[in-house]
């Protein structure tokens, strides 16, 4: 007697899970290859002259207002909420400013700026490259002997690494200033007490810098990868844009978790 075969429904379900896993692994390997090719492209000069500067303008200058508005309001909200909560428990508001600056440098400045850039820059890169893909411009590039990754993703990669750093510094300043204004106007905290950088350690700055660098590298590679995978016509471009925003945002959150966790484990006791 042969062993009973699993029912067809179960088999189909297992097949579907397996297909999803295989697809996911394929995409993962391809993403890793894209990242490798992008980094290699930095050391080859196959990119159009002036393209890095043009991309820096698009990624940086054009996002300036967006980052300023969102981070300014986040800074106000965070200071307001923490003062409210501290008033309920201890009532001592003198430490809010220094601790806020510390948290801003090592956590919220890099991460929220990167989330905002993932939304704006990631969607932009995927929409642009995706439109080029579905209108067969990418194939035309390949036909004329140009590697699309070198030509399209690498300049955006260089520009994003530089401009994410610049935008993060700018965002920290804006959020800190906005937070200081809120603390002074709503809770009467003295400006000299608030704007005190004494608590910031080298550790915080290093953690923030590592985060900024990794976000700046992850966003253009993931978005460019999603753009190059676009299929079909306008629907495909829309789907690629969605995938880019979700992929880059998730990458920011997971990278933040990994880097902060490592930082916590490295940080010794009592310092």
């Amino acid at each position: 007697m042969s062993p009973p075969l699993p029912s067809l429904g179960l088999r189909r379900r297992v097949e579907r899970v397996g297909a999803a896993v295989l697809d996911g692994m394929d995409a993962g390997f391809e993403l890793a290859r894209t990242f490798g090719a992008t980094v290699r492209g930095v050391f080859r000069s196959q990119r159009p002259p002036g393209e890095v500067l043009a991309q820096m303008y698009v990624i940086g200058n054009k996002s300036l207002l967006f980052v300023a508005v969102t981070l300014g309001f986040i800074g106000m909200v965070m200071v307001y909420q923490s003062c409210l909560q501290l008033n309920r428990i201890t009532g001592d508001l003198s430490q809010v400013g220094p601790e806020f600056l510390k948290l801003l440098i090592q956590e919220f400045g890099p991460s929220i700026t990167a989330l905002m850039l993932a939304t704006r820059v990631g969607a932009g890169i995927a929409a642009e490259i995706g439109s080029m893909k579905v209108t067969e411009q990418v194939d035309a590039l390949r036909m004329s002997g140009v590697t699309p990754i070198d030509y399209l993703i690498t300049p955006r990669f260089i520009a994003s690494v530089i401009m994410t750093g610049v935008m993060t510094v700018f965002a920290v300043l804006i959020a800190f200033a906005a937070g200081g204004l809120t603390a002074a106007s709503s809770f009467g905290v003295n400006a000299n007490t608030f704007f005190d950088p004494g608590r910031v350690r080298v550790f915080d700055i290093a953690l923030g810098a590592i985060k900024t660098l990794s976000y700046g590298m992850a966003i253009p590679v993931i978005s460019g990868f999603c753009g190059l995978r676009a299929r079909g016509s306008s629907e495909g471009v829309g789907a690629a844009t969605t995938a880019a925003v979700i992929g880059s945002s998730l990458a920011v959150i997971v990278l933040n978790f990994i880097i902060s966790g490592t930082g916590l484990l490295l940080l010794g006791d009592g310092r």
Partner: protein
């Protein structure tokens, strides 16, 4: 001298253009809100379309929201953990992580992810329908596109974002408890009592009310940019970009005002 004059004129011109552009979009979104509200009193919309959208937008987004929330819980505990090591205050981890997840980070981050997945998808879909003239087709059949396409989407997004936020906050708290035990060697009961003793229902409801308002703004911006697409596949890409940016700005602005208004 003349170059400086040109520069000033150019700056003023671009400022004015931005202001006009912004007013047009804010006005368009407000008009859309008015039309949607008129269809909701008394409620008249396509029921099947509503259920289909709720499934597509809610159930299908659950994995991404749960994954985000889980890691966010971990991140909040790590941040609280740095203070624990500094001041030796393990009893405050649950409070710190819970307070920030309930009131701020939970609703805002889940809304941002929802806008990235559902809002941009919605804009792409409505945009594709617009550029392929399917909306005009509906109008030619005497079907009101607002009632048939937009109202079900708005209702589905508001309801589903609230549901996803409730679930996401729970997942984030579970993730926080798990990582505080793994990374900080904290007992689950310490985490639990620190959270329960210091927070109450108003903290939780604060976040839920925020998520309902965020759902409204995400749905309206994504529908507005979807139906006002011009110019083929490139136009759809540009509209999706504009929609996610507008949704992110409106989430941050509304978060600010709601924080002041709500208890």
């Amino acid at each position: 001298m003349k170059a400086a004059g040109n520069l000033v004129a150019g700056t003023i011109e671009s400022l004015g253009a931005t202001a006009i552009h912004l007013s047009r979009e804010v006005g368009g979104i407000t008009l859309l809100l008015g039309r949607v509200l008129r269809c909701l009193v008394p409620p008249s919309m396509d029921g099947r379309e509503l259920v289909r959208n709720m499934y597509r937008m809610g159930n299908r987004s659950l994995p991404i929201v749960a994954l985000t929330a889980f890691f966010v819980g971990g991140i909040m505990v790590i941040q609280a953990g740095m203070y624990v090591k500094q001041f030796n205050a393990a009893g405050l981890v649950g409070w710190g992580a819970g307070y920030s997840i309930f009131r701020e980070i939970g609703p805002v981050l889940i809304a941002l992810m929802f806008s990235g997945r559902v809002g941009s998808n919605n804009t792409a879909e409505l945009g594709t329908m617009t550029v392929t003239e399917q909306l005009d087709g509906l109008r030619a059949l005497a079907i009101d596109p607002i009632r048939y396409l937009i109202v079900p989407r708005v209702v589905a997004m508001v309801v589903m974002l609230v549901v996803l936020t409730v679930l996401g906050i729970l997942v984030a708290i579970v993730g926080g408890a798990l990582f505080s035990s793994l990374l900080l060697d904290l007992e689950y009961s310490t985490f639990y009592y620190s959270l329960v003793d210091n927070l109450d229902w108003t903290d939780f409801l604060h976040g839920i009310v925020k998520s309902a308002v965020f759902g409204m703004s995400i749905s309206l911006t994504s529908c507005y940019f979807g139906v006002s697409v011009r110019g083929g596949a490139i136009g759809v890409g540009r509209a999706v970009n504009a929609a996610v940016v507008a949704a992110a700005v409106s989430i941050m602005l509304l978060d600010f005002f709601l924080t002041y208004l709500l208890p």
